[in-house]
């Protein structure tokens, strides 16, 4: 798989570490979340067959976090974004 890094261009997927579903960006507020919300966030996954948004870390590169949209049926990489942009757009960071 080739990841088209928004800053560095096409990179071999072997340079990255995969964390998992990009919904991990939406961590509930630990002070207000219910046990149920925290449990679902930490342990449950949609695990879809088809397009999947996931967090990839460019460990052997510029160490940026990316949100990669990838098909779990074909391995085709559909879209690559900087995770900070995605998180900011979701109001995660100021």
């Amino acid at each position: 798989m080739i990841i088209d890094h928004p800053l560095l261009g096409p990179r071999d997927a072997a340079e990255f570490v995969v964390l998992g579903d990009a919904s991990l960006i939406d961590r509930p507020d630990g002070m207000t979340a219910t046990v149920e919300e925290m449990h679902d966030y930490a342990y449950l996954r949609d695990n879809p067959a088809g397009d999947h948004r996931e967090l990839w870390y460019h460990e052997q590169g510029d160490r940026s976090w990316l949100v990669v949209t990838r098909s779990t049926l074909t391995h085709e990489v559909i879209k690559v974004e900087l995770a900070r942009n995605v998180a900011r757009a979701q109001g995660r960071s100021r």
Partner: protein, 416 residues
């Protein structure tokens, strides 16, 4: 028809005209007591033990492809009971005991071969950890032997014993571990279940559930609706997809594991060997091929194939511990999709939907579990109570803080 040496002789003398198909190919009935989703090793074993041990004969196994098309026909066939934790080890030892009597029990040659499994260690702390694990194994009634470098050198002279980076400092050896012919396990259980009246329906995909007021009444399939008093999910790598049809989200990600076979060689490996400093393991099939593998690819996938970086990684591991493998040519490689769970351990449990049960999360280690998984799932389905050795495999264990995390890496499926 019972298989026996006498039978072979008789058939041989009469032109082999008396052999019959090992199981029927029935159309599904409109209703069953128990419907099992998934005709892999676990589903078929569940049906077999339901019929044989628990008197449940009105049972169907629905398989979307053909028997053996899933992981039961794709794994590297290793059986062992060398776990550490209380939640796991007694279960896997129960499974190993069932393997030991399996061929007589289901009257089928599954080529159960207890040629031993050798887990190499490469540092003092790793050796300490293996000693501790060996003790846990022995507490559960399993066998475990700690070997020193000299004994290993005698057993496997061709390993790289003196590597400067990863010298072999010892090994945990389980003589009762070994390999089993995986397809024959599916066929043996299928035949045994069929003979006891279980309907095995191939090319029948479950496409939905009939759930009313929190109760599961049956399933929708590509061969029409089928009613059932109890529905038992057992779809290995597809568990999340099947469970999603019932509105469930599982603590599971689907990942691919690759496996490799070399050309046939003369007998060289005594049993299974695992490299303790990288992810590589190898055994030799009865045909002579070196069967080996390593890590999962690490990203979510439902494609039954992996990518080249892991191929490279596995081969590097092989070259590091057993340099002679570089002379063997690779014959075939393939991948299988598995349920990686949040703590690396499986589930055998009921769900919050009444009458709907789950068997899932077997990661890359479910083949060895096949007999016990089937037995314990059948126990739960028939009696409503978890089997003693499977009582920790609960679906709500993350909520309860009762994870069974052998590796201690937390809720990160691709690290287990």
């Amino acid at each position: 028809m019972r298989y026996s040496a006498l039978r072979i002789l008789k058939e041989g003398l009469t032109g082999n005209r008396g052999w019959q198909p090992a199981w029927r190919e029935p159309e599904p009935k409109p209703e069953y007591d128990i419907v099992i989703i998934g005709g892999g090793g676990h589903g078929l074993a569940t049906a077999y033990y339901l019929a044989k041990e628990f008197g449940e004969r009105n049972v169907a196994v629905l398989e979307k492809g053909w028997l053996g098309s899933g992981n039961i026909g794709r794994n590297t066939t290793i059986i062992r009971s060398n776990y550490l934790l209380e939640g796991n080890q007694p279960f896997y030892e129960f499974s190993l005991k069932l393997w030991e009597g399996l061929e007589q029990d289901f009257n089928y040659n599954a080529m159960v071969s207890q040629r031993g499994i050798l887990n190499l260690c490469h540092s003092d702390p790793q050796r300490d950890a293996f000693v501790r694990r060996g003790n846990a194994m022995r507490l559960s009634g399993a066998d475990a032997v700690i070997l020193g470098p000299d004994e290993i050198r005698k057993m496997c002279p061709y390993l790289d014993h003196e590597s400067a980076r990863f010298p072999i400092t010892g090994a945990l050896w389980q003589p009762r571990g070994g390999t089993v012919r995986h397809d024959a396990v599916a066929w043996g259980y299928a035949r045994g279940a069929d003979r006891r009246g279980v309907d095995i329906v191939q090319n029948c995909e479950v496409t939905g559930f009939d759930i009313k007021d929190g109760r599961c009444l049956g399933v929708e399939t590509t061969k029409g609706p089928i009613k059932a008093k109890k529905v038992a999910m057992c779809a290995a790598g597809s568990s999340s997809r099947v469970a999603a049809l019932a509105g469930l989200r599982l603590p599971i990600e689907s990942h691919v594991l690759q496996a490799f076979v070399s050309e046939g060689l003369k007998p060289v490996l005594p049993g299974v060997i695992t490299f303790g400093a990288g992810h590589f393991y190898v055994s030799q099939s009865d045909k002579g091929g070196l069967v080996f593998g390593g890590d999962i690819d690490g990203y979510n996938t439902y494609a039954q194939r992996g990518n080249l970086p892991v191929v490279e990684d596995v081969c590097e591991g092989g070259m590091a511990i057993m340099p002679m493998i570089g002379r063997a040519r690779l014959l075939r490689m393939w991948g299988g999709v598995m349920d990686m769970s949040m703590d690396g351990s499986p589930f055998i449990d009921r769900t919050h939907v009444e009458g709907l049960y789950l068997n899932a999360g077997w990661c890359y280690g479910g083949f060895k579990a096949t007999p016990a998984s089937g037995y314990c799932y059948a126990h739960l389905l028939a009696s409503g109570q978890p089997h003693e050795t499977a009582r920790f495999f609960r679906l709500d264990r993350f909520r309860q803080g009762a994870m069974i995390d052998e590796k201690g890496v937390g809720a990160q499926p691709n690290l287990h």
